[in-house]
């Protein structure tokens, strides 16, 4: 078994080299410590265009930290991050060399948070046009037109002028997805997008994400919805205490887990 894994690893490596063009994100040997606590202990991950990478793992295993390091919401301690073929320039301590580069790359990564984090003083439409208009300098009229299409698409066309706090969690999260789509991201980063939702609202958000996966959006998806991960992911990564314990295609990882820890994890989450 171990040999088989190693061989597929080599094959994957060769793939990487041959089609660097199709690489959306490549993270190499990422480390992150908070003080003395080492949360990421060397994580490497490549997502090609159109990949849906599901990241699973127990609470505190470093899933959020990993996503947040990719767009530098957390400063990595060391490692290499390449987005769309552009390497983020880091100093020895992990801090970015050019703030502008980080800001530019961030606009290519649409992040969706567990707690939605919509701007509560702006309507849904204003939330969706905010980044295109003020960061990307898209003409306002064009941004509004596109925002309306996106809100329609997530089923909120009639709520464009409503403020987020007046909506359900599911509606807010769908609006947050529209906000992410508004920048036409090359990679979407989802951090447990349904974990803050009442069970009956989870489905409507998953439906939207499923659609996005089906149209070939590249995404990294941290989730506790194992059934969903198995269904939409092209690749699944299991994190355990800051390391990738096991990874592979969903059918293999869920159907035939090799590591004892993953087996146990899958049992506990059901």
């Amino acid at each position: 078994m171990g040999k088989l894994m190693a061989m597929s690893d080599v094959a994957a490596k060769e793939n990487q080299v041959s089609d660097a063009q199709s690489e959306a994100i490549r993270v190499t040997d990422l480390h992150k410590s908070f003080g003395a606590l080492e949360v990421l202990k060397g994580v490497s991950l490549t997502a090609h265009k159109g990949d849906v990478v599901a990241i699973i793992g127990g609470s505190g295993s470093g899933k959020s930290t990993f996503l947040r390091c990719i767009n530098f919401l957390e400063t990595p301690s060391s490692g290499q991050i390449v987005v769309n073929g552009e390497e983020i320039q880091m100093r020895a301590d992990g801090t970015p060399v050019h703030r502008k580069q980080i800001e530019r790359i961030r606009t290519r990564l649409g992040m969706v948070f567990q707690a939605f984090n919509l701007w509560t003083h702006r309507t849904l439409l204003e939330n969706v046009i905010e980044v295109p208009v003020y960061v990307l300098n898209v003409p306002r009229a064009a941004a509004i037109e596109r925002a309306k299409v996106l809100l329609d698409r997530v089923g909120l066309g009639d709520k464009a002028d409503t403020f987020p706090s007046f909506l359900s969690g599911g509606q807010q999260q769908r609006a947050a997805i529209a906000r992410a789509l508004a920048v036409d991201p090359s990679v979407m980063l989802f951090d447990e997008p349904t974990s803050a939702l009442d069970p009956e609202l989870v489905g409507e958000v998953l439906t939207v994400i499923r659609d996005l996966a089906a149209e070939g959006r590249t995404m990294l998806l941290v989730t506790h919805e194992m059934k969903f991960a198995r269904e939409v992911a092209t690749h699944v990564v299991y994190l355990f205490e800051g390391r990738i314990e096991e990874q592979g295609p969903p059918a293999e990882l869920f159907g035939n887990p090799k590591s004892a820890r993953l087996k146990q994890f899958l049992q506990t989450v059901g």
Binding site: R99, L109, M111, L118, W119, H121, Y134, F163, S165
Partner: protein, 250 residues
């Protein structure tokens, strides 16, 4: 009209308060305008100081934070009247020394500018604390979302932090504005002809103390009521994204 005033025995007061001489109403209104001008300028200046002060306290380095802590502590500890005397005389003295050193001779400092400067520095200390609290009340997720979408710091401040903190800051800022209108009265001590000084002059020239101070009191009250209406509107606007607490069960 005159008959009513006559029967109420207010004819004399009406005459004293008439807008044209020999009435003193015009002087009182000029005093009010001066007061409002200073209050407005000082409030605005204080807001600017407050915005920088709050940012400095929250995001600045150690030295800046310490300096700001000294500023807000000292200003808020010393009685305003004393501060006004110190800042006014120290300020005018400094400007004159500088101007003399540069060979310009003594300069006449406008009362309005001096008043705005002095009260603005006092207001700035309070505004720093009001705004710092308000900024800290903004949910961190909203600021994080803005960062995650590539907003540079100044844009983030302008588009997210400031509008989002407005609902937390307005009540405190409304208080500061009312304090500013009334603190202008303290400038009487340095001889600036704002409403209180004008009132005192009118009163002592005519011996009609009651009439004039009552009139001045009414003017201050009108300003307060009017401000209340304006700030209520601002607050309503600032809270536009938040469901009201009314109607939710207790």
């Amino acid at each position: 009209m005159e008959l009513i005033l006559e029967t109420l025995g207010l004819a004399k007061s009406a005459e004293l308060l008439s807008l044209s001489p020999p009435g003193w109403g015009g002087n009182l209104l000029r005093g009010l305008v001066n007061s409002l001008q200073i209050a407005f300028g000082a409030f605005g200046f204080g807001l600017i100081i407050g915005l920088f002060g709050a940012s400095g306290k929250l995001y600045g380095g150690v030295v800046l934070r310490d300096l700001l802590a000294i500023y807000t502590t000292v200003i808020r500890a010393v009685p305003e009247l004393v501060l006004i005397l110190i800042l006014y005389y120290v300020g005018t003295d400094l400007i004159n020394q500088v101007s003399q050193a540069l060979g310009y001779g003594r300069v006449e400092i406008s009362g309005v500018v001096a008043g705005i400067w002095v009260l603005g520095i006092v207001q700035g200390a309070y505004a720093t604390e009001v705004l710092r609290g308000a900024i800290q009340a903004v949910p961190t997720g909203q600021i994080e979302a803005a960062r995650a979408y590539g907003m540079p710091p100044m844009l983030l401040m302008r588009r997210v932090t400031i509008p989002a903190m407005m609902s937390y800051a307005t009540p405190g800022l409304a208080n500061l504005w009312l304090i500013a209108t009334k603190d202008t009265a303290l400038l009487a001590i340095v001889g600036f002809s704002e409403l209180t000084l004008e009132t005192r002059q009118a009163a002592s020239s005519t011996r009609a103390y009651f009439t004039f101070f009552l009139a001045a009191g009414a003017l201050y009250l009108i300003v307060t009521l009017f401000s209340g209406v304006i700030f209520a509107r601002i607050e309503k606007w600032a809270r536009r994204g938040q469901p009201s607490l009314k109607g939710t069960g207790r």
